[in-house]
């Protein structure tokens, strides 16, 4: 009843090709964006903006990147954090070494650098499939982090390898407060997410899905697997790279190569699995879930059990609960949170009637 496509006629090609063809979706997305842009900055305090909302947005972007590669093009990757690192260090170096480099351009260039590296490490995907490829992408993960540590040029010869992001100045305005940084992150993430949403229904996106479902069959019907896979690697790494740039500039401010370790790659992978493989919306839900869960556990476990456990046991308990919840989720809903949302939409469509 609340979510019915019936009666929404498309009278023009333009109307038929909108990103969100159903009016409820359009209104819903507009409301969510308006809430995020106008209401949240007013009601959220600094802690929420800095420690929760900004990382959720940034990880959503990284998860979209991985989702494009894994969920749409079917190439399992364990190197997303490394591509984030390329984006972060790339943006930093473009800002540092070119005078008057605008922040947004540096961010995009960092993303493009990540895309180039992604294509390089994507080349084996033409011959290697499945878990062999996943392990092969670990080469990217370890090699890139090693290179960033070993060649001090990347971190501008800082003795500890840590880089401090420059101030973000766009058109003379300095983004330094938590609200400004949040809004900037939000704007970039929204634009890129809509682009991704659009991209996956173009011929490129459909070619990705064809390759994912069966690459030999895709090749037979005239999709070039090499081109398709490499584009997927490039676009995915670009998204991860931009996410990495934001991670350095709007979230942490100072980053070191070791921050982009395998654990981060796994967390991004968890996000897309829990959120939903092959769903842009799922990337947001998954990122929110994975960012919020440890914070939630941190706050809840002491309340539930008081001081029954020592701090070290509590941290182990957190590991246990985290691992257990992931397994639980996979068993209960292997298609992720996006699937729950789909089921919810079905229910809304029919309610209050049974059929």
């Amino acid at each position: 009843m609340f979510y019915r496509e019936a009666g929404q006629f498309k009278a023009s090609y333009q109307a038929d090709q909108q990103i969100f063809p159903i009016i409820q979706d359009r209104v819903g997305i507009a409301i969510v964006i308006a809430l995020a842009a106008l209401v949240i900055p007013v009601i959220a305090n600094e802690y929420w903006l800095k420690a929760i909302l900004v990382p959720v947005l940034i990880f959503s972007l990284a998860a979209i990147g991985l989702n494009i590669l894994t969920g749409y093009a079917g190439q399992l990757s364990l190197g997303s954090a490394a591509f984030m690192a390329v984006g972060a260090f790339g943006a930093y170096n473009f800002m540092l070494r070119i005078d008057g480099m605008p922040f947004l351009v540096a961010l995009v260039l960092g993303g493009l650098a990540a895309a180039a590296v992604g294509v390089l490490f994507g080349l084996p995907s033409l011959r290697i499939k499945g878990f062999y490829l996943a392990v092969a992408t670990l080469a990217a993960q370890f090699f890139i982090v090693w290179a960033l540590v070993k060649f001090p040029w990347f971190s501008n010869y800082s003795s500890s390898g840590v880089i401090t992001a420059q101030d973000i100045v766009i058109l003379g305005y300095t983004f330094d407060g938590p609200v400004a940084k949040y809004l900037l992150t939000l704007a970039i993430v929204v634009v890129l997410a809509l682009m991704a949403k659009n991209l996956v229904r173009t011929s490129t996106g459909r070619a990705w899905m064809a390759v994912r479902d069966m690459d030999v069959a895709a090749e037979v019907i005239g999709i070039r697997p090499m081109r398709t896979k490499l584009i997927a690697f490039a676009v995915s790494s670009f998204y991860c790279g931009v996410a990495g740039g934001l991670y350095a500039f709007t979230y942490l401010g100072t980053v070191e190569p070791e921050g982009f370790n395998l654990d981060l790659s796994f967390r991004i992978l968890f996000m897309i699995i829990i959120g939903g493989v092959g769903s842009i919306m799922g990337s947001f839900l998954g990122a929110a879930f994975i960012v919020l869960l440890p914070i939630f556990l941190d706050n809840v476990i002491p309340h539930l059990f008081g001081n029954l456990f020592s701090a070290s046991f509590a941290s182990n308990l957190q590991l246990i609960v985290f691992g257990g919840l992931i397994i639980f989720f996979l068993i209960v809903e292997p298609h992720g949170l996006a699937r729950l949302w789909q089921i919810g939409k079905e229910k809304l469509r029919l309610w209050p009637f049974p059929h």
Binding site: R127, Y132, A136, V216
Partner: protein, 308 residues
């Protein structure tokens, strides 16, 4: 030349240890098609449980500390825990996930690795412990005197143990009824089911055996480097071994381990100085990657034929 040989032999022997971890992966992947990322966590769990029991057993039973009885009792108890852990994993985690895509199963085992690490440290604490197997880590005098090559007796013992383990596993697979059933399941799940092999029992057995392999690997690694959280990273070193040897091949795991072990040490010594060192962290992966470009199914993996 002597230095080269020393590095080579040292690398080969450490490769044996990688192979031990890789073996656990192969067993499970072969039988159930699950890429068990938690193998590293299981190694850690096994070693920690063993050490934990050797510490608490004298207090419980009044046996002499460090004696052979305590050692074997702890070994048996750790083995029982590993088998229980393996079977519980199969029953609780994997059975509900039957027929899910491989990536979901893979993610579940990553979740499992967090769980197992948390449980292990929650029970026994997170301190670094020493582990004493009673074999001294000293160079063999004979080789020192006659060939001037430094080989640790401990490494040699580890290699021998790995050899015995692989040999007995091969015999077990080849000549016992359960072993035959295991091979049938590895070959084709449905065909195995149709001739009356109980798939679930077989999986439980495989996880139990993988637990045993993890225990042996954990003991040797633990004795070498101390029982600590870093043990879980050995799993990562086993991954290039796996893709080099092929996911489904037991000899592949051994040969892959030897190649990775030897080449990473040689590369570190002979190439490392030119690029700033520390290349051990990524060299095995790049080597495996380059190798895969030539043979995408690994050394001994089954050639995969795609049909539309």
């Amino acid at each position: 030349m002597q230095f080269f040989l020393e590095v080579l032999i040292g690398g080969l022997l450490s490769g044996v240890l990688y192979a031990l971890v890789a073996l656990g992966f192969v067993l499970i992947f072969k039988a159930s098609g699950v890429f068990n990322f938690a193998q590293g966590a299981m190694v850690f769990f096994a070693a920690l449980t063993f050490v934990g029991f050797t510490e608490v057993l004298p207090g419980w039973t009044g046996l002499a500390e460090g004696g052979a009885v305590v050692f074997w009792l702890a070994f048996v108890l750790a083995l029982v825990s590993m088998v229980v852990l393996g079977i519980a994993t199969e029953k609780i985690v994997l059975r509900p996930l039957v027929n899910q895509p491989p990536i979901t199963l893979f993610m579940a085992t990553i979740g499992l690795s967090y769980l197992v690490e948390g449980i292990a440290q929650g029970i026994w604490g997170a301190n670094v412990r020493g582990l004493e197997l009673g074999i001294e880590d000293v160079p063999i005098e004979y080789m020192m005197e006659h060939h001037n090559i430094l080989i640790s007796s401990f490494d040699l013992f580890a290699a021998a143990l790995a050899g015995v383990l692989v040999g007995s596993l091969a015999l077990f697979f080849q000549y016992t009824k359960v072993g035959r059933a295991l091979r049938a399941v590895a070959d084709d799940h449905q065909a195995a089911l149709s001739i009356g092999i109980p798939l679930q029992h077989i999986w439980a057995i495989v996880w139990g055996v993988a637990g045993f392999v993890a225990l042996v690997a954990g003991l040797i690694w633990g004795a070498r480097n101390g029982v600590q959280f870093a043990l879980t990273f050995t799993a990562l070193k086993a991954l290039p071994v796996l893709i080099l040897g092929g996911f489904t091949s037991v000899p592949g795991a051994i040969v892959g381990g030897l190649i990775i072990g030897a080449s990473e040490k040689l590369a570190e010594v002979y190439v490392g100085p030119f690029v700033g060192g520390g290349i051990e962290s990524w060299f095995p992966y790049v080597l495996a990657l380059l190798f895969l470009l030539v043979r995408p199914e690994g050394l001994f993996g089954e050639r995969h034929i795609d049909r539309v």
